[in-house]
Symmetry: C2
Subunit: 109 residues, 2 copies
């Protein structure tokens, strides 16, 4: 069944709207993109996302953890090392990013 063409009123819960609302958060797609090649520490993420505040990055990561898109792993070292990575569910978003890269390279400058 194609949910995309159904008027909103017919849908009680719409997985697509939920997805758009998760991915449409400012910085969210960029964070997922930065985690695509592999796990990163908070500081590495912040450095690669120019202009993001630690508060926003922290809040976005928490949202993505809640949605089971990003996993946080704490390594018991001194000082503790914390790494963020994509979960299997998050890995499934890579195809979307690949399509965005393709579109970007064909359409932007």
């Amino acid at each position: 069944m194609n949910n995309q063409d159904k008027p909103m009123a017919e849908k009680n819960i719409c997985p697509v709207e939920k997805t758009l609302s998760i991915l449409g958060g400012k910085w969210t797609l960029s964070i997922i993109r930065q985690l695509s090649p592999g796990a990163k520490r908070f500081g590495q993420l912040q450095k690669s996302l120019k202009g993001i505040s630690p508060k926003t990055l922290s809040s976005r990561l928490q949202e993505l953890e809640k949605e089971d898109i990003v996993a946080k792993k704490i390594y018991p070292e001194v000082p503790p090392r914390v790494e963020y990575s994509l979960t299997p569910k998050g890995e499934g978003l890579k195809i979307i990013l690949q399509e965005m890269v393709k579109w970007a390279n064909e359409n932007i400058q």
Copy 2:
């Protein structure tokens, strides 16, 4: 060349970051989704995007027009009819939305 894995510092202009910043605006993906089946009037868009304010919808549509993703057509009727539709460049985004729909149906509820 794969821009995706290059550190930010090496990129002067990054088409992918620009794309993520365009598509990552709140409501932007939902607006593109609503225009995917065909042209819509402002009121139809507002009705289908539950919770959007006319001011935000108007501002998002202007941004998308500026990026040549959405076209505005004014029909010289009384009163004038105004319709918004995807440009060929905007049509290219449908594949991204299709991948999102697929991911949503497999991963959300």
